[in-house]
């Protein structure tokens, strides 16, 4: 607030804020090409270091949560599909309703009151021991769990009604192998698609959850940097997040094309720039090889 004119000018000079906007933009882009995101305005260390430190925390949180979600959703979803209207099915409906209607910040707060304040089982915030991870993971777990559960259930019901399951049953295969060996393999494809969307959505949850539980991840970092006007960190964080989501989508596409060759997805389509298709060249033989050119063209002779 009350910085002297001199120090203010000095600060502007250091961070290049006196240059015209266009020059600032160009120099930022030029540095970006060399993977230089500039220095954090508040902490005087490279912004990318700050961001990557936070990103590592969030990545761990997200990977653990997502693995738990997938494992539990597949087990409970399969059981729910096997007895439609049974105990597991009702449990599944309950979870997915809670998942899509409860605000996660509220669940986090209520969990803190019950488990940290009253029962004293888990610490309220920070990191350090295994116990610090329990509550953020459980709260983050709820929403994707409800959604993926529904999708596993839906595609399992389809798979269980198919002919090969009937064949397996006619051969006398037990219930458990039918569910977890025969049907599940085919029911997993839609799940993989949703995991991609949900992993991006998990970052939404991470912003709120990390702020509440004082978890030093990229979500909390971004909120704090925005509130403290640390632009370089915000921009670096956006870049890293976007890149991470892009890479994850690529991995999912590759996985998908391996698991289901019939889907016809070309995993590299995200990386290739599709040029507009030009009309055929007026000279018939002047076409790149591989096209179905006329047989008598000089190229094919």
């Amino acid at each position: 607030m009350d910085a002297s004119e001199e120090s203010r000018n000095q600060f502007r000079e250091i961070h290049g804020l006196n240059d015209p906007l266009f020059v600032q933009f160009l120099s930022y882009m030029a540095d970006l090409v060399r993977l230089d995101f500039g220095d954090s305005i508040r902490r005087s260390e490279p912004a990318i270091d700050v961001v990557l430190r936070g990103f590592a925390w969030t990545l761990q949180l997200a990977v653990i949560t997502m693995s738990l979600v997938v494992v539990f959703a597949i087990i409970l979803g399969s059981l729910a599909a096997f007895h439609v209207g049974g105990v597991f099915d009702r449990l599944a409906t309950f979870f997915s309703l809670i998942g899509s209607s409860a605000p996660d910040f509220w669940i986090a707060i209520v969990a803190i009151v019950i488990f940290s304040v009253n029962l004293g089982w888990f610490p309220t915030s920070g990191t350090g021991t295994v116990w610090h991870w329990v509550m953020p993971i459980s709260v983050l777990f709820i929403r994707p769990f409800g959604l993926i559960l529904q999708i596993v259930r839906g595609s399992m019901i389809t798979a269980l009604g198919s002919a090969y399951v009937k064949t397996a049953r006619a051969k006398g295969v037990g219930n458990r192998p039918i569910i977890f060996v025969h049907a599940l393999r085919n029911a997993l494809l839609p799940v993989i698609t949703v995991i991609g969307d949900q992993a991006a959505a998990l970052l939404n949850g991470a912003v709120v959850i990390e702020s509440i539980f004082g978890f030093p991840g990229i979500g909390k970092l971004m909120i704090n940097s925005i509130l403290q006007r640390d632009f370089t960190v915000v921009m670096a964080a956006i870049m890293v997040t976007a890149l991470a989501i892009f890479l994850m989508n690529l991995v999912i596409d590759i996985l998908y094309s391996i698991l289901d060759p019939e889907s016809g997805i070309d995993p590299w389509h995200r990386l290739t720039f599709r040029l507009p298709t030009f009309p055929p060249h007026p000279i018939p033989w002047f076409r790149p090889c591989g096209c179905s050119g006329p047989i008598n063209s000089p190229l094919s002779r």
């Binding site: 899509s100 605000p103 009151v113 956006i238």
Partner: protein
């Protein structure tokens, strides 16, 4: 037909109650909700000897929680309704265009949708609200932008399928203009699905707005929303749990009702289209 599904029936009544509060609440209870009463600071709930507005307790300044929840419903509901309305209108229009016109336009529109979808919506809203000012109008705009792709993708997918049907072909042969085909023939078929999704999305937008207000980047005091009330009660968690608990519970009940109604609508509006709706939901996540 609504009576057949008891859960949906109760939900609709609850939603009507909330809507009533949203429209008339501030008019009736504005004075009570903003009047401070320092002797009733953090008054515990279920004290039936007091005035009925204090039955859910009082907040840190002694303002009755029940009245505040009723008043806060206006901002909460109207921000969500505005965002859903704009995203529904724009998304549907763009989706119809992408589905019915040339490949180039379709490609341009779909890539724009991909760009919006590829970034976590809450982070996007946080960044935009930071650059703009956080007012009710900006909040509506930001939330609407992040939800456009949902309707856009659905509308496009449905249009691509409907445009090949016989009645559209017949209309085209008889010389109907593109505008007429889109608005008179395709839109009525696509609309029920979109309305069902909008109901579900209303819950999502409400949660997003609550999260933003909770983080302190959404609605700013003295305006109130349910999310902001939860945030305001947070410092008193250990001594007065009811400050955060009640607004959160109202959020849950409202979103739960919206989910149940949407579930009911899915079967009620068009049983034959149920399978397609489920496919669409899978795609959009």
């Amino acid at each position: 037909m609504l009576w057949a599904d008891k859960f949906a029936f109760v939900s609709v009544i609850f939603l009507l109650l909330i809507l009533f509060c949203a429209v008339f609440g501030p008019m009736l209870l504005e004075d009570v909700a903003t009047k401070q009463n320092l002797r009733g600071r953090n008054a515990p709930p279920f004290d039936f000897s007091k005035n009925w507005v204090y039955w859910l307790g009082g907040d840190a300044l002694g303002r009755p929680l029940l009245a505040r929840i009723v008043v806060a419903s206006q901002n909460t509901i109207f921000v969500a309704a505005g965002a859903v309305f704009f995203s529904l209108a724009i998304g549907t229009a763009l989706g119809l265009i992408a589905g019915y016109t040339t490949r180039t336009w379709s490609q341009v529109i779909m890539r724009l949708a991909d760009i919006i979808m590829s970034f976590p919506s809450l982070l996007l809203a946080v960044i935009v609200l930071f650059m703009l000012e956080s007012s009710v109008f900006n909040l509506v705009v930001v939330l609407a932008i992040t939800r456009i792709p949902v309707y856009l993708r659905t509308a496009r997918a449905e249009t691509l399928e409907v445009r090949e049907r016989m009645f559209v072909q017949a209309a085209r042969v008889m010389g109907a203009s593109t505008k007429r085909i889109i608005f008179r023939h395709i839109l009525p078929v696509v609309f029920p699905t979109l309305i069902t999704i909008a109901t579900l999305d209303f819950a999502f937008v409400m949660l997003a707005e609550s999260s933003l207000s909770f983080l302190g980047i959404g609605i700013q005091p003295p305006e109130i929303t349910w999310g902001l009330m939860v945030a305001q009660g947070r410092p008193y968690l250990t001594t007065a749990w009811w400050l955060s608990f009640w607004p959160g519970l109202v959020i849950i009940l409202t979103t739960l009702s919206l989910n149940l109604v949407s579930h009911w609508m899915r079967t009620a509006l068009d049983p034959a289209q149920r399978w397609r709706l489920e496919n669409v939901r899978k795609k959009n996540g």
